[in-house]
C-alpha cells in the first residue's frame, strides 16, 4: 500500500525518530511503513491520521 508518510514528515521537518516517538513506535516501524514493507494496523493508521490531522485515506492509498 502506498502512503504519503515520508512527504508529510518532511513537510514538518521531522526525523524518522521524531515521528516514531510521536507515534510511540520504533524508528524501524516508521521506516518499514514509509518504504511500504509493512502496512500499519488500523489503530496505528488512526494514530498517524490524528497526528497529521488528516483522514486515513488522505495518507494511505490502497490503489496499487
Amino acid at each position: 500500500m502506498k502512503n504519503r508518510l515520508k512527504v508529510l514528515r518532511a513537510e514538518r521537518n521531522w526525523s524518522q525518530a521524531e515521528l516514531a516517538g510521536r507515534l510511540d513506535v520504533s524508528r524501524q516501524a516508521v521506516n518499514a511503513i514509509e518504504t511500504g514493507k509493512y502496512d500499519p494496523s488500523l489503530p496505528l493508521a488512526f494514530r498517524i491520521a490524528r497526528l497529521f490531522a488528516m483522514s486515513i485515506e488522505e495518507i494511505f492509498d490502497d490503489q496499487q
Binding site: E18, L19, G21, D24
Partner: protein, 145 residues
C-alpha cells in the same frame, strides 16, 4: 521560550531514546539470563554428571534447570512483548515460526541419525540449532529493514 519550543519540537526523539534505553536494559537482562543458565547448564549436564553420573539428585538438577530456563524465557518474552511495537512483534512471531520449524526438522534428523552425528547430547544440539535459527531470523529481518 525558545528552549521550550525546541523541547516541544523534539519530544518524539526523547520518547524514542527512552524506549531505546528500556530495550537495551531488557537485552542486557536477556544476555545475563543466557550466561547464568548457560553456566548452570554446563554444571547440570557435565560437572554434576561427573560427580554423580546417574542419580536422582543429578536428574532433579537437570529438571530444575530446564524448568527455570523455560520460566525465565517466558518472563523475558512477556517483558519484551510489552515493550516492542507491532512491526517488531510481527518480526518476532516470524522468527519464532522459523525457530519452531527448525526445531521440528532438527528433531527428525536427531531422531533418525543421532548416533551418526558428532554430538554427545543430540537433543541439546537440536535446542541450540533452533535457537540459532530464531536469532538468525531476527537479525535477517532487522538487516532487510
Amino acid at each position: 521560550m525558545i528552549n521550550n519550543d525546541a523541547r516541544e519540537a523534539s519530544w518524539g526523539e526523547r520518547n524514542v531514546e527512552r524506549r531505546t534505553r528500556r530495550r537495551w536494559a531488557l537485552a542486557g537482562a536477556g544476555v545475563a539470563t543466557s550466561i547464568v543458565f548457560g553456566l548452570a547448564g554446563q554444571y547440570v549436564t557435565s560437572v554434576g554428571r561427573f560427580v554423580a553420573p546417574v542419580s536422582d539428585a543429578a536428574d532433579a538438577g537437570s529438571l530444575l534447570w530446564a524448568v527455570g530456563l523455560i520460566l525465565a524465557a517466558a518472563i523475558l518474552f512477556r517483558l519484551i512483548w510489552r515493550e516492542i511495537d507491532e512491526v517488531q512483534r510481527r518480526r518476532l512471531v516470524n522468527a519464532a515460526a522459523v525457530g519452531g520449524v527448525a526445531s521440528m526438522a532438527l528433531l527428525l534428523l536427531a531422531q533418525a541419525a543421532g548416533r551418526m552425528l558428532p554430538f554427545a547430547e543430540p537433543m541439546m544440539a537440536v535446542f541450540v540449532g533452533a535457537a540459532a535459527a530464531l536469532i538468525s531470523a531476527i537479525i535477517f529481518q532487522r538487516i532487510r529493514g
